[in-house]
Symmetry: C2
Subunit: 510 residues, 2 copies
């Protein structure tokens, strides 16, 4: 054995002592519970992958950005490393390539859509700075293989964005602090082309938009002009950045004066982005249509979004990547997802006084987790009219209903009294809906059973919801539920109702 | 972007799809809950460390056994790798060096003893085989800085072994399947020296004992003789291996015929190993004193133990390493710990039908976690007589008391009905005791409050336990507890009593 020595942790990594570990667990628990409640199933991949996996997606250049790894036991690996300076493995810098590889390998057996989440360590060979470490934790949430109709895709996009917002809400982060900037990269490209930008220069335009905040405004303007961006279009981007409260509606109005075709395209972007979010009841408060968000990575093909805190710090980001699964050897498969790291989020929670301490922190991470079995599987009855009600009910069940008392006391996010049934609260639940196109109730119920759901809620109308206990295989009426009036025969979609289906399930599972 | 391709996960790593992830989470949850209930606090370190860290502990040779890593962005690192075939970082093959480094960095501020656990990914550059992967999860449990008296050390050793057994019990593994083989490497060395083995050849003896099961018996005997192991001593080792049910007591009796001094030493080994375990009520069923367990790693200095399933598969292993913290730059600090991987354990659970499936698996991983706040902090009143009662109560609270009904129905480990209060069960709890030498009750209570405990139980005798609610700062009597008789004034240490302190705390926290 060697002499006494004092060795440090590698630069940019963390030694997490008990209190720091508890803070990280608080974030991880919120990630896991939120994803589970939104119907995502957990997966995990290797911490290191073959370097080839990253080269396929992003070209050879990416290897220079990675931590590379090799077996010290394999003489041929060592020889290769000595000869080339390149190793056969890389510590994963992100999850999407692993996810695409895993999906491609089992595409035939997996249900449509497949909703997966994961949370684990990732690595970047960058210079460490505030909010940016060489090893960090990241939450990944993806919907893969939606039904390939525009509305199916919009639903999947909205599902991801709603999950991101659900996480923020569950941590007590308010929409005054974080905004979700949403764009559609493909539609933006079309708009730019109609404004005279050459399509083959689009990746340069994306890179310029992505770098904009780090550049002097005149330099940006100069490069934009060189790429063929018209002065009027350039002015719109600049306006979006200078007025953080400006939303796409104002931008659109502004644009009306310049070009009618582009005005129509802008309106179409607004509609395609915002309409599905409206249905979840989240667009107005949280989302801000944006023209300039493009996200750095090359594989995004449509919707892109970023959660920005205080107008500057990116807390999460993601988008649609419809070509990647095929590139990894799977069938053509649309997909959308996002990632959120623990470092920026942790700093935000601490800055805003939203990170519990001491006994409250220990209690918060000891709280019961979200049920991995769906608690309620929501089905539409026999006509399309119930579909918006189904989506609203699913969103409300996942969000929970805060008790009246909370509204006065402003209890912290980690205080379980917020959802106290005795004061009218309903805790957030794991709710799912069927993605099957059939209207056959028997088939839908067997889908719910196959997914191990506890209850099924069959929505006929606002105040006409049937509830079924799937474990006991029996119908439930309000008179079967402790504490509910038996004056009505069916349950309600509205959280304000005494016979709200969520209130009934909470009482039955207590 | 490149052509369509199908890339595999690196050899010896796992793609965990939802059901496989759930099985891993089931194991991780059992690890975490068990460690928390036994008073261990969670920490986490970097996934990769400087290669130097592993060289300090085990010599330069270890680098050939590791996955090595380097930043692809750092030209000087790449040059060094090209020149030497060695990289500045290594993926961690085990946690103990990180733990020793972290403890050494804060030794002055940390309480004595410090009880830490962690569970995360580890890496070995070995050829993958059944039960042995290149990336796996491992649970590490350590008691660092005990009070340095022989009884303090024995208590810390027993605490670790009890935690290992607690994990097995919580998963439904029975003592007929797994045995904990326990030895004291330092005392074994003394015995071997008294039998004529040269002390400087001891590490060769350890290596030979460690390899014994993979060698033909005659070859082993030949090498043993060459190292100076007497035929009588050799016969004892062989006897231990050939009769899996043989315990040290029989071995000791056998040895009586050969040498009186060695007989005395063997009896001393038996006493020092078994006595503290007896107090936890675990030695007879679970532990098997063993002479031949030495564990491969060089840093063990005293007690060593291995959990062996079906007489062959090692499920867990650990021991005492009193020099390592100092070697890492900290003050001289005794320490003991063990590690358990998820791969062998997972195979064992599946082989024995102890891994839940489907809805039961999802329910099991959704069950409420162990409380990170201690639920009961147990204190001895004013004399030493209460100490064994304190340790017994702590052990009983951590283990829980199964309901009468369970004893008839043999419910599975993951079935929460096992501990149903209505049928007399008491769920396992997070219990701690004070390690302070003071008898000052006020100081002990403030120690309990500083650790955020919910209740304090002050033990005066078998049926004389005071209970105090530390959040509300008030005494609790049986009449304050719903469902308990108020015919007696104080609580009891015995789980069979109606006024068992664990039963009261369970009712108060419900």
């Amino acid at each position: 054995m060697a002499r006494q020595t004092r060795i440090q942790a590698p630069k940019g990594t963390r030694d997490l002592y008990p209190e720091e570990t508890a803070r990280v667990r608080y974030i991880q628990k919120a990630w896991t519970d939120t994803a589970v409640r939104h119907g995502f199933e957990e997966i995990e991949g290797p911490t290191f992958e073959t370097s080839e996996l990253y080269a396929v997606k992003s070209g050879e250049g990416i290897l220079g950005e990675l931590f590379q790894a090799f077996s010290g036991k394999d003489p041929s690996d060592i020889e290769k490393v000595k000869a080339t300076g390149r190793a056969p493995f890389a510590l994963r810098p992100e999850f999407t390539p692993t996810l695409a590889r895993m999906y491609a390998a089992r595409a035939q057996q997996l249900q449509k859509p497949t909703k997966w989440f994961t949370a684990g360590p990732y690595f970047r060979a960058e210079r460490p700075q505030r909010g940016r470490l060489r090893e960090f934790l990241q939450w990944n949430v993806d919907v893969i293989g939606d039904d390939e109709t525009p509305s199916g895709r919009a639903q999947a996009d909205a599902d991801c964005i709603a999950t991101c917002i659900g996480l923020l809400e569950s941590l007590g982060v308010e929409s005054s602090v974080v905004k979700i900037n949403v764009n559609d990269r493909m539609k933006l490209d079309d708009l730019l082309v109609s404004e005279g930008v050459a399509r083959e220069r689009m990746s340069e335009v994306h890179a310029l938009l992505d770098r904009a905040e780090k550049m002097p405004r005149e330099e940006w303007q100069r490069q934009a002009t060189a790429l063929g961006i018209s002065p009027s279009m350039g002015t719109l981007f600049v306006r979006e950045w200078s007025e953080t409260e400006a939303n796409l509606d104002e931008v659109i109005e502004q644009f009306k004066r310049y070009a009618t075709t582009s005005f129509q395209k802008l309106k179409a972007i607004r509609e395609s982005i915002v309409a599905p979010l409206d249905e979840f009841g989240i667009s107005e408060k949280w989302c801000r249509p944006s023209l300039s968000i493009v996200r750095g990575l090359a594989y995004y093909t449509g919707t892109v979004f970023e959660a920005i805190a205080d107008g500057e710090r990116a807390v999460a980001g993601g988008g649609r990547y419809d070509n990647l699964i095929e590139l990894m050897g799977g069938p053509p498969t649309p997909a959308v997802g996002f990632a959120m790291g623990d470092v920026v989020l942790g700093l935000l929670l601490e800055d805003k006084g939203l990170m519990p301490e001491g006994a409250a922190l220990l209690d918060a991470i000891s709280a019961p987790p979200a049920s991995r079995r769906p608690e309620v599987f929501v089905l539409g009855a026999d006509d399309d009219a119930s579909d918006p009600l189904v989506r609203r009910l699913v969103a409300d069940l996942r969000r929970g209903a805060e008790s009246e008392r909370y509204k006065h006391d402003s209890l912290k996010a980690w205080d379980p009294r917020r959802y106290e049934p005795a004061t009218g609260g309903v805790r957030p639940m794991h709710a799912r809906q069927s993605y099957k196109s059939t209207r056959n109730l028997k088939k839908l119920l067997s889908d719910a059973e196959r997914q191990f759901s506890r209850f099924a809620a069959i929505v006929h109308g606002e105040d006409r919801v049937q509830l079924r206990d799937l474990d006991k295989r029996e119908e439930i009426t309000p008179k079967d539920v402790p504490g509910l009036p038996d004056s009505v025969a069916e349950f309600s979609v509205s959280p304000d109702s005494e016979v709200y289906v969520g209130r009934a399930v909470q009482a039955l599972l207590a």
